[in-house]
């Protein structure tokens, strides 16, 4: 099983792909590495300004924790997730020359993009947490390892979706147009800017089925409230996400031999 999963997977090649992606997307600018931290912080201050000054947002169950930490802790994993999917969905089409000329396990392309994005945003996340701490929020650092494990699970979910989306986009080009509004919709239906407790019951019930809801709640619980209650949904995630990944990989491989026909 494990062997067939890693068929054609080449660690050295994959590392090159990831490094290349990181360099392309984040380190091309002169101050590339600085931007990696500055950009998320700028974005955070924009959100903080808009939501605390203009909308006067109040989170009822945030307790003494302000809106900014409440938002930031959930916003970064989401950004990594969303950006990873959007970027990697074009991974095959963007590497048409490589895919149609060289034989290699094509799944490494979207997976490398997802990985690079998560790595970069993971670093940004740590920077943000550090800044939150410096600004007086009590970040529960002891729970950070668990949060990182959850981040890995989220990465796996992003990988699964990326494999499906990137292969589908080769055949149905409209995916590139459909995906961004779809991700925006997902963003607003996930309790990132708000809390589940602010919703009417029936909506909250529906939203419980959104896997991102679970992730967002866990990140907040772990890092802001210092508690970990994954519940039954957590168990389901542990099973469902890897399963989804395997299925998605199987789908991808079934069709990767036909990419060249459509590129």
């Amino acid at each position: 099983m494990a062997k067939s999963l890693t068929r054609g997977f080449d660690a050295a090649f994959f590392r090159h792909l990831v490094v290349r992606q990181v360099r392309q997307d984040y380190l091309e600018n002169l101050t590339g590495f600085a931007w990696l931290v500055i950009q998320p912080l700028l974005l955070l201050s924009v959100y903080a300004f808009v939501f605390t000054q203009i909308f006067k947002a109040r989170i009822s169950d945030a307790g003494e924790i302000g809106f900014v930490p409440f938002l930031a802790v959930a916003f970064w994993p989401w950004t990594a997730f969303s950006e990873a999917i959007l970027k990697s969905s074009g991974a095959i089409a963007n590497h048409a020359a490589l895919v149609s000329k060289v034989a290699f396990a094509n799944e490494q392309l979207p997976l490398a993009t997802v990985t690079a994005t998560f790595l970069m945003h993971g670093i940004g996340y740590l920077a943000v947490l550090l800044v939150l701490q410096l600004l007086g929020t009590d970040v529960h650092w002891l729970w950070l390892p668990v949060a990182l494990i959850l981040l890995v699970l989220l990465w796996l979910l992003a990988c699964a979706i990326a494999l499906f989306a990137s292969s589908l986009q080769v055949f149905v080009r409209d995916v590139a147009q459909i995906l961004p509004p779809l991700m925006t919709f997902w963003f607003f239906t996930t309790p990132i800017l708000y809390s589940v407790s602010m919703l009417p019951d029936f909506l909250a019930g529906i939203m419980a089925w959104n896997p991102m809801t679970w992730f967002v709640v866990q990140f907040r619980d772990l890092l802001l409230f210092g508690r970990f209650e994954p519940g039954l949904a957590g168990l389901a995630m542990i099973v469902a996400v890897p399963l989804l990944f395997v299925l998605s990989l199987a789908w991808f491989r079934k069709f990767s031999g036909h990419f060249e026909d459509f590129l």
Binding site: D10, A12, F13, R20, A97, V99, K101, V102, H258
Partner: protein, 394 residues
């Protein structure tokens, strides 16, 4: 011994995907596991086997399916029907520089490419000097590849492939690029590679290269295997077919010229001991040429007969002016004149040749008409050139 590469009944249909609707339909049949309803049949029931150390040349016209065959072979695409087995550490040069990212430096690209070819980091470190020496592009290695000339890209690409020490090397018209000295270097390396039990799959339009580097050849025509076997035989038949196809066209043109011109070649016939439509002979056989010319004013035209190799290189030519009285009127046909040229010992080396008969005006100043016939000299030899000169080792 199990073959290194085996293709059995391989067919490939490329679906039509120009319009969004066609794409959807093609994707639909893919989902249902059906063959594309509408598409181009690029490979049709191709089977082949390559054993270790046995090199195969793949020849055919443009669009015959050669590149598709290589893509199926390397696993870039899946065949629509048939099975592909390849059990070798393969390096494919479908296009040198494929997988090179223009914005990254030569060095970065070397790292990337060597990873694709399955070299570990340690292998690469050990072989990096060899790669740089083989590519011989100096300080450009640190520049982005987009600043390279096409020749430099090829050199770098080939150098990495050389370093990956493949068991099976697949090349597609790669040797056509690059300068003379680099080409020689590549061919020397491939020679060495084959010598050391390496296996080569070569797609080339150069029959010379195919004959030189491969023992077997496969001729693809319209996606089908037209002929598969000994490289000399297949390449010669391929050239003969090419010539035959061009001939009808040439004849037509020659006839048109004959009508408008003054003096014309009426017929040109080759007779050999074996006879046949396209004469085939062996080195040293006799060949006789009969040419009938037409003269509208009854004056005696000058005839000229020459032999050129298939690529147009002249081998020998001779003119009736130097042999008085050899142009004789045809009895009963006042406007026709006949010449007969005998070549008792045609010492041409194996290959494809064209014999040309020309009708000149009586002054021998102007070629008024030309007719061509091709013939083939068959056989295998280790001699070089076009003609066997009389010789003796002492």
């Amino acid at each position: 011994m199990t073959p290194l590469v085996r293709l059995a009944g391989v067919s490939k249909v490329y679906p039509r995907v120009h319009h969004p609707r066609e794409r959807l339909r093609a994707f639909g049949s893919l989902l249902l596991g059906r063959e594309p309803a509408r598409g181009a049949l690029v490979l049709n029931d191709v089977s082949l086997e390559v054993r270790r150390g046995q090199s195969l040349g793949i020849i055919g016209e443009n669009g015959a399916g050669k590149s598709t065959l290589l893509k199926v072979l390397t696993g870039v695409i899946e065949p629509t029907r048939g099975t592909v087995e390849c059990r070798a550490r393969t390096a494919a040069l479908l296009e040198l520089g494929a997988g090179f990212q223009p914005d990254f430096s030569g060095m970065d690209n070397v790292r990337m490419k060597s990873a694709i070819l399955g070299m570990s980091e340690r292998d690469l470190d050990q072989r990096l000097d060899d790669i740089l020496a083989f590519a011989d592009i100096g300080q450009y290695i640190h520049e982005p590849v987009k600043h390279y000339s096409s020749g430099m890209v090829v050199r770098l690409g080939f150098a990495v492939v050389v370093a990956s020490r493949p068991e099976l090397l697949i090349t597609d018209e790669v040797l056509a690029v690059g300068d003379e000295s680099f080409q020689k270097k590549c061919i020397r390396w491939i020679d060495d590679f084959i010598e050391n039990d390496g296996t080569l799959l070569l797609v080339s339009h150069s029959m010379y290269l195919v004959q030189k580097l491969c023992r077997h050849a496969l001729w693809l025509r319209g996606g089908r295997v037209e002929e598969y076997g000994d490289a000399h035989r297949v390449t010669q038949d391929y050239l003969a077919w090419h010539e035959a196809r061009n001939r009808a066209e040439e004849l037509h043109r020659a006839e048109e010229r004959g009508v408008h011109g003054h003096y014309a070649v009426h017929s040109l016939e080759l007779t050999t001991p074996s006879g046949g439509e396209t004469p085939v002979l062996a080195t040293g056989d006799a060949l006789s040429v009969d040419m009938v010319m037409r003269s509208p004013d009854g004056r005696v035209p000058v005839g000229m007969i020459g032999i050129v190799r298939v690529d147009g290189t002249p081998v020998y030519g001779v003119c009736t002016e130097d042999a008085a009285g050899c142009v004789r009127p045809v009895t009963g046909q006042e406007d026709q004149f006949h010449v007969c040229l005998e070549l008792p010992d045609l010492a041409l080396l194996p290959g494809q040749y064209t014999l040309r008969g020309h009708a000149l005006d009586p002054e021998g100043m102007r070629v008024c008409d030309t007719m061509e016939r091709t013939f083939r000299v068959r056989g295998e030899t280790r001699e070089f050139g076009m003609v066997r000169l009389a010789h003796r080792w002492r």
